[in-house]
Amino acid sequence: MRNITVYLFLFLVSVAHAQTSMSSTEAHALKTKVKERAAITKTISSDFIQYKHLDFLNNDIETSGKLIFKTPDLVKWEYMKPFKYSVLFKDDKLYINDEGKKSDINIGSNRLFKQLNTLIINSVKGDMFNAAEFSIEYFKKDNYSLVYFSPKDKKFSKYIKAFHITFNSEGDVIEVKMIESSEDYTKIVFSNKFLNKPLEDALFTP
């Protein structure tokens, strides 16, 4: 009898935390909210923690830093722990500063990089609702919305099978999870996020 009670309790706990599919009305409302928010977003600045999960490791590899974004297409990821490394997407180029060693990659000619860049910008804003490029599924969990974007392009899905983006009730992105075909993933959790705080162009230097 006690066993049954335990199972019942566990079942209720799992139901309480399980994610459920959204109705089409709910999905439409979320999409509208995120798109409206993305349209008025001129800048984003946020702290982030990145967790690299590989199934054979004891612990995820944790790195952290700051992200800044400015419309239309300036993005800088600055890793500060446990090493200093930054990537700046600017004018179709990728500028890297690896503990002081600077290099750049021309991404204009690389379709995959270009696609990745657009995806990064859109995922930071949350606006990836492009049905031609992704199969999209909507879920809700507690007060959060969870959207699965699976790339339709076969060449791209070889690298990333799906993006799982978590939004808070305001329609802000709080977590991005990129899942590889092997099921290993990279999870980025945002915190101290500010929208439309003035960001000087000078901050977007390599």
């Binding site: 054979f56 590899i61 890793y79 090493f83 690896d98 990279t186």
Partner: protein, 201 residues
């Protein structure tokens, strides 16, 4: 005639074995094997910030080495942003490429990486000859039928050299050693422009 003799002498000196050229002193020891401890603990995730320079190309990222079981290692290289660049495994001496990006998918490069990583993860080595050089013990062994010299000072493995035709081909340097973790590792190739730098994070 004197010049001819001199050139003969120089010729033989140049062709002399690696230990001779390096002035190693031969040593008699009862030791039959040595142990490379650096990637031998199953409970540790070995994580390094890595730079791989190949000719004019440079790849930076995170190198992960994990001993999954006895005779089973997994070696994964990702970018700082988390994208996998390659994923290799060694299972009972057999090498597998689980994944590699097109840009790095060149058999020459894969072969070199395979040989280098095999040296890093091979734990038990049979000693063929023993030498000393100052306060360092030098052990000659073989990995894949290639001569390797292991330099051990103060009970720490600090260098491995792969030899071909009596010359240094690849040098592995282990520095900032903390117990059984080498916090800095450099793999320097003398016959091609390929260098790997690893810094524990």
């Amino acid at each position: 005639m004197r010049y001819l003799l001199l050139s003969f002498c120089l010729f033989f000196l140049a062709c002399g074995s690696f230990p001779k050229k390096q002035h190693f002193k031969i040593e008699n020891t009862s030791k039959t094997s040595i142990h490379n401890p650096y990637f031998s603990n199953k409970t540790i995730d070995y994580i390094y910030k890595a730079n791989i320079d190949v000719y004019k190309k440079s790849f930076s990222g995170i190198l992960i080495i994990k001993k999954i079981d006895n005779q089973h290692h997994r070696i994964v290289f990702t970018t700082e942003m988390g994208n996998k660049l390659f994923d290799f495994s060694f299972i009972k001496g057999e090498f597998n490429v689980n994944f590699i990006i097109d840009e790095m998918n060149k058999s020459i490069l894969i072969n070199i990486l395979k040989k280098d990583f095999k040296v890093l993860i091979t734990e038990q080595l049979k000693i063929n000859d023993t030498y000393t050089l100052d306060k360092t013990n030098v052990f000659e062994s073989e990995i894949d039928k290639k001569k390797h010299f292991f330099f051990i000072a103060n009970n720490q493995l600090n260098k491995i050299i792969r030899i071909r035709n009596g010359k240094e081909k690849v040098v592995f340097l282990f520095t900032q050693i903390n117990d059984t973790i080498a916090n800095n590792i450099q793999i320097l190739h003398y016959n091609i422009k390929l260098n790997i730098k690893l810094k524990s994070i």
